[in-house]
């Protein structure tokens, strides 16, 4: 037995690390912004150097050096291998079966991993409008593996709007609908990790994040949550992964609230230091 050592990390770092563990070397992965893009970059840097990372905007085999604001921001890379477009991604790559793994974020999710990322409340007059479908439905249907990450989302008995198919009604209902039997496999939330094991394909708690107990998780789920027989503790990130994330995306590491406050402080500091910049600036425009 080796020595024991304390590791200190943020929730984002834990989630990113666990998302990264889902990536195998050589995987062709469609990334979304936020946790997925950092997780993919982490995996490519350490254990999956031959992973082919892509975004649906047409950046293929890209190695970003920082997180972009959105998936079509090409200024976050130092080049990429193939500049195609949305059409190519959905047809020649996704529909042909070349996407090994796809990451999706979660708004609302039901027992079988079906999701809503469109609207909360009445669809036509919603309480909150979310981002919309984007590429989620098609990726969730045709990628070989789907991994979900969930920060602000909710478990619900019935989706307010059905945006993205998971395992439909569970069991073999995908097969009966003539669809690939490749729905969501893993969900990484702020508290735990879940799987959707065959044959039922129902959300099942498989590991708890450090410091979280099953009751903490259960209270967010409005149905009787399935729990795996051998419930584990979610693996914690090694120091090199934590360092990587803090360099790559400190804002994500810090979380939204702290980041916002740091950004405002920095802006205020700059504003205070500013001296007559208007004249100097005009010349350079």
């Amino acid at each position: 037995m080796g020595n024991r050592r304390k590791i200190r990390f943020t929730l984002s770092e834990l989630m990113i690390y666990n998302a990264a563990l889902e990536i195998q070397d050589g995987d062709k992965v469609v990334m979304g912004q936020g946790i997925p893009i950092v997780a993919c970059s982490l995996a490519k840097t350490f254990h999956a150097p031959n992973a082919v990372l892509m975004t649906e905007a047409g950046l293929v085999d890209v190695a970003p050096f920082r997180s972009p604001l959105h998936i079509a921001d090409p200024t976050c890379t130092r080049g990429y291998s193939y500049s195609c477009d949305l059409m190519d991604i959905f047809t020649t790559i996704l529909n042909r079966g070349f996407v090994d793994l796809c990451f999706l974020g979660v708004g609302q999710i039901d027992k079988f991993g079906n999701m809503n990322s469109t609207a909360i409340g009445d669809y036509r007059h919603p309480k909150m409008r979310m981002m919309g479908a984007g590429g989620a439905p098609d990726f969730a249907l045709y990628a070989k593996r789907v991994v979900l990450t969930m920060r602000g989302g909710k478990f619900v008995n019935k989706l307010d709007y059905f945006t993205t198919p998971g395992w439909l009604a569970g069991g073999d209902s995908r097969k009966r609908a003539g669809l690939p039997e490749t729905g969501p496999e893993v969900l990484i939330s702020t508290k735990a990790v879940f799987h959707f094991p065959a044959p039922e394909r129902e959300l099942t708690l498989v590991s708890l994040h450090p410091g979280v107990n099953a009751e903490d998780v259960r209270k967010d789920v409005p149905w009787k949550l399935k729990i795996a027989d051998n419930l584990n503790t979610t693996p914690v990130p090694p120091q090199e992964a934590i360092d990587f994330v803090r360099v790559f995306d400190p804002t994500l590491t810090a979380g939204r609230k702290l980041s916002l406050s740091l950004t405002i402080q920095a802006a205020a500091k700059k504003q205070a230091a500013k001296q007559k910049p208007a004249e100097a600036g005009k010349a350079e425009l």
């Binding site: 079509a72 959905f90 600036g281």
Partner: protein, 355 residues
């Protein structure tokens, strides 16, 4: 039939004034990258009304257009939002208050409609799993013309199809364009090819107008051929606060400021006043920016130049006849050739009247 050759180069005000009537449909043809903000602001400044907006993936431009009263109908797959429930914006308010109708499609479905339209197709298949979703089941603006199911005549399987769409006017911002309208774009191509070519008219704003020689020696970068383009508008920083690869990065600070203003209807209007209505055009917008924040935040966004690795477009010769007027293939000079034709060729003679 030939088009009369008139200059396509004009101001944003002229382009929007000339080609975007109230009530028409527009396609915002940048996919998150390089959003055509100079053109969008001009729509707002000219108080366009009742636009049907095709927006594959939007960020703040939709909130702006809704807040300014330019549109009540949006066809979309995705609209970026910064916050959670605490940060509802104009889009949420308008929907909730019933002053906006949205047709929700998936990324691929809205793209497929534009793709089919761009190709002159009546319909095109999409991936059939969409049938399981509310995207398929619920329709608003498109009514019964959203999705249909046909039988694949080879396998007999059900196939979901969408209808080709041809919006009236495309708005797109690109890195460079020549005076004929050959628009060159690189970085994230997204839906830009199809969302432009689908339209009846195309307005291009560009970081810079370049000489035609630049284009003809990099034809693989041309997204839209000149003959399809109706207006060319030179607008440096025309996508700000979005990014344009090779020109500038996203202005996070400015975007954060917008998202904060978007939280209430009143602050949204004050944003519109300060950054759109009170600026006569993009030059004034930039001057105002510098006045307000200094030059440093903009300077920091400027890209450091990194030229792409070129393709070799060279050829072995640039005429049948070499520098000496000699043809290797024929083994003679140009004047010897005329003589050979006279002697051995089938030369006809005809008398004409000199003009």
């Amino acid at each position: 039939m030939g088009d009369v050759k008139v200059s396509k180069v004009m101001t944003a005000a002229d382009a929007i004034g000339k080609f975007v009537p109230d009530g028409c449909s527009i396609s915002i043809a940048n996919f998150l990258h390089s959003t055509p903000f100079a053109l969008i602001h001009e729509l707002i400044r000219q108080k366009k009304k009742d636009l049907l907006v095709w927006s594959q993936s939007g960020i703040e431009e939709l909130d702006l257009l809704i807040g300014a009263g330019c549109t009540k109908k949006i066809i979309t797959a995705y609209n970026f939002r910064a916050g959670g429930e605490w940060a509802n914006g104009e889009f949420d308010r308008a929907l909730n208050e019933g002053r906006l109708e949205v047709e929700d499609l998936s990324n691929f479905a809205v793209l497929a409609m534009l793709w089919a339209g761009a190709m002159g197709y009546n319909f095109i298949p999409v991936l059939k799993g969409i049938r399981e979703t509310d995207i398929f089941k619920i329709s608003t603006i498109l009514g019964g013309e959203k999705f249909k199911v046909v039988k694949d005549p080879f396998s007999g399987e059900d196939t979901v199809v969408v209808k080709g769409a041809n919006p009236d006017v495309a708005l797109i911002h690109v890195q460079r364009c020549d005076r004929e309208g050959n628009a060159q774009y690189w970085g994230s191509i997204g839906n830009s090819k199809w969302a432009s070519l689908a339209c009846k008219k195309i307005i291009v704003s560009t970081e810079q107008i370049v000489d035609h020689d630049v284009v003809r020696f990099s034809p693989h970068l041309t997204l839209i051929p000149g003959f399809r383009v109706d207006a060319v508008v030179e607008e440096p920083w025309g996508a700000h606060p979005a990014e344009a690869l090779g020109a500038y990065n996203t202005d996070y600070g400015f975007r954060a400021m917008f998202f904060m203003h978007n939280i209430t209807a009143v602050s949204m209007q004050s944003f519109l006043k300060e950054w759109v209505y009170d600026c006569a055009g993009r030059a004034e917008y930039l001057a105002h920016y510098v006045e307000r924040f200094g030059q440093a935040p903009l300077s920091r966004l400027r890209a450091r130049t990194h030229p792409s690795y070129p393709a070799d477009l060279g050829s072995a010769n640039f005429s049948v006849w070499d520098e000496r007027g000699y043809s290797e293939a024929l083994g003679m000079t140009r004047s010897e050739f005329d003589q050979v034709l006279e002697k051995q060729g089938e030369v006809m003679e005809w008398e004409i009247e000199e003009k």
